[in-house]
């Protein structure tokens, strides 16, 4: 009971973690990307599309190789998500459109596109087989129990998320690239005066961040629910939670590992207790959102300098402005 609960919590947490890292990277570049929910959706459809293409190219589906499935889902998700992120990037960086509005439009568009393609153009017939292979864990953990299962009983994506989070933290705090990126987010004009290529950094940050966020959706479909597809609105809700999580974790990807697992636990708390009444379940479902709000309030009350959002967040940069 506890083991399955923790495993599901980590799985949901991983979906949020991918979204959270992606959003953190774009926010560090000074772009509040409210399109992340839509981008996670298109990442899902991209990954699913490539998995279905690979599965259909095989003669015997059961022989599908693990590495090819992982690669095709990663590639598809990254491609589609960063393309959608690319629309956002062109509109907000080059055309200097309002970031909030553009993000909302991206979310509407991404949700629609995903629903449309998944419904009519992605062959979902082999997804349960593919899902089983993708979610394979290390052989010794398969039949284990207890703490070993909780630590090692996950598919590749869970560990990928942790690795990406740690690498991102390292880049932010220990490298020149990270320093430049943070400078852009804090004060774009100063970074420009420093000689940093603002446009290049912003584009790379948004494309990379969107691509990483896209992994979240494909992980949810392929690994956690083993290939079943209902609708894009679930993933969209995860996207909004991921954006909230960025604030919860104070723009620090290493904290976001813990934070996202906590959110994951809250999210599935409503389904974990079997003996609860329907009304109690509905109350529990509201819990993650209530906690998010409480965290938002607490972080804003603490008002510490290092816990604040990037100062230039949400502002378009035009060099010739004062």
């Amino acid at each position: 009971m506890t083991v399955t609960f923790l495993i599901s919590a980590i799985a949901i947490g991983t979906v949020l973690l991918f979204g959270c890292i992606g959003e953190t990277i774009t926010e560090k570049a000074g772009h509040l990307n409210l399109g992340i929910p839509g981008i996670m959706c298109t990442g899902t459809v991209g990954g699913c599309l490539f998995v279905s293409l690979y599965m259909n190219s095989l003669e015997v589906v059961e022989n599908a190789s693990w590495i090819m499935l992982i690669l095709s889902s990663l590639f598809g998700a990254f491609l589609f998500a960063s393309l959608t992120g690319g629309i956002y990037a062109v509109m907000t960086i080059t055309f200097r459109c309002n970031q909030n509005i553009t993000g909302l439009a991206i979310t509407i568009f991404g949700n629609g596109l995903t629903q449309f393609l998944m419904h009519s153009y992605v062959d979902k017939s082999n997804f349960s087989t593919a899902g089983k292979i993708i979610s394979k864990c290390l052989p010794f953990a398969e039949n284990s129990d207890g703490i070993v299962k909780v630590l090692f009983g996950h598919g590749f994506y869970v560990y990928l998320a942790i690795i990406i989070a740690l690498i991102t933290t390292f880049i932010f705090n220990r490298t020149k690239v990270g320093l430049n990126l943070r400078a852009i987010g804090e004060n774009t004009a100063t970074a420009d005066a420093m000689g940093v290529n603002i446009t290049l950094y912003k584009y790379v940050a948004i494309l990379l961040g969107s691509g990483i966020a896209g992994f979240g959706g494909v992980f949810y479909i392929m690994d956690y629910v083993k290939g079943s597809w209902e609708n894009a609105s679930t993933i969209e809700a995860f996207g909004w939670l991921a954006i909230a999580l960025v604030i919860f974790t104070l723009w620090k990807p290493n904290i976001s590992i813990i934070g996202s697992y906590l959110f994951g636990a809250l999210y599935i708390a409503a389904f974990a207790f079997g003996n609860i009444s329907f009304t109690g379940r509905e109350v529990l479902k509201m819990l993650p959102y209530v906690i998010t709000i409480i965290v938002l309030i607490i972080t804003s009350m603490m008002n510490k300098k290092e816990n604040q959002p990037p100062a230039a967040l949400g502002l378009s940069y035009f060099r010739e402005d004062r």
């Binding site: 509005i101 419904h119 809700a237 509905e282 998010t292």
Partner: protein, 366 residues
């Protein structure tokens, strides 16, 4: 540029900020953008089906204006979106990112439905309607004022706060539905009590109501002291402080107003349109309202046009979906998204212009 001694190359195209732009130019840019957006989305629709381009526009128009009932529905939905936009407008003018329109509408609707559910048949309908009105306005205002208080006191990020309030509102609705619907089907049957009376037909009253609110809002923002304070806070909080405006008070007061109007939209949804509630009752108007408001650059009278346009597209797309035989309704989201992109990019061409490199090689040679 006459002496190229530094060997500096002028870029092929550069961006220059516009100082002023004529109204005709603005309109031209928007019209071009809408045409581009629609053409692009029609091409996409055609690509995925066997129909032609003319079918797309034909069914777009018949879907929105095809029959008398469709026209009334179009006007009713425009009015609802207009009401939502009026709720969001004062907040946005204050640069308060209220993404919680959906939640505020939903709790307003829920409060009204609760009155209908508990009092229906026991008390006279006119009393129920009065109570519904008070309850939904109060509920919407409370839902909006909670984030406003924290924004005013602790500078809590309001866009995420209001966003989370949407989900809590949805949770409350599904909670109430599980309590009210004993069968467990999760669908609340339309309640025959507390329905707003028809005047002429059932669409007319909401339309008139929201047009009146729009005019009042126009006057409020333009000619009242409150409206002035809102625009100063929106331009610069520091300026507002120096002028002696109590920023906290303005934020809280404006959000109460904003939430109250959103609650009113919920009231109309409960009493006149649906007579029931689901988690999707707000029909995502909280977000489309943001689009309508922003596209109209915060001008209440232009919002009438933008909300009509947005409703027109989404209504028309229903018919397009039928003719093109798309099996799910997501194509309309794609089209709406593309049209939004096209129109959002307009803001760039209104604020900036592109200057191309002139041919000056000959000049240098001379």
């Amino acid at each position: 540029m006459k002496k190229s001694k530094n060997n500096l190359k002028e870029p092929f195209v550069r961006i220059v900020k516009r100082d002023n732009i004529k109204v005709q130019q603005v309109i031209l840019i928007y019209v071009l953008a809408i045409i581009c957006g629609l053409l692009l989305s029609s091409l996409i629709s055609v690509m995925f089906s066997q129909k032609g381009l003319d079918d797309f526009f034909k069914s777009l128009f018949t879907g929105a204006l095809g029959s008398e009932r469709k026209i009334w529905l179009l006007l009713q939905d425009t009015a609802l979106l207009l009401g939502t936009s009026m709720a969001l407008l004062p907040a946005f003018k204050m640069k308060f990112w209220n993404l919680g329109g959906n939640g505020q509408i939903l709790v307003g609707c829920l409060a009204a439905i609760a009155c209908m559910f508990y009092l229906g048949g026991k008390v006279d309908d006119s009393i129920i309607i009065l109570l519904m009105l008070i309850a939904s306005i109060a509920a919407g205002a409370i839902w909006a004022v909670i984030p406003a208080i924290f924004r005013a006191k602790f500078n809590t990020n309001e866009s995420l706060f209001t966003l989370m309030m949407n989900y809590i509102a949805q949770g409350l609705v599904s909670l109430c539905i599980t309590i009210w619907v004993k069968s467990g089907s999760g669908v609340l049957v339309p309640i025959p009590y507390g329905n707003i009376p028809d005047i002429g037909n059932k669409y007319l009253l909401p339309i008139i109501l929201f047009i009146v609110i729009t005019i009042l809002m126009h006057i409020y923002l333009r000619s009242s002291k409150h409206g002035y304070e809102i625009s100063v806070v929106g331009e610069s909080i520091n300026t507002a402080k120096y002028v002696g405006i109590k920023v906290d008070k303005v934020i809280i007061r404006t959000m109460i107003l904003s939430g109250a109007i959103a609650g009113l939209v919920g009231f109309v949804l409960a009493g006149s349109v649906n007579h029931t509630i689901s988690t999707a009752s707000a029909n995502n108007m909280g977000f489309t309202g943001i689009m309508a408001t922003w596209l109209a650059s915060f001008n209440p009278l232009i919002i009438i046009l933008t909300s009509f346009f947005i409703t027109f597209i989404s209504k028309g797309m229903v018919e397009v979906r039928k003719t093109f035989m798309f099996t799910n309704d997501s194509i309309s989201n794609i089209v709406v998204g593309i049209v939004y992109f096209a129109v959002i990019i307009c803001s760039f061409f209104i604020n900036y212009k592109l200057v191309f490199r002139k041919k000056e090689k000959e000049e240098i040679k001379k």
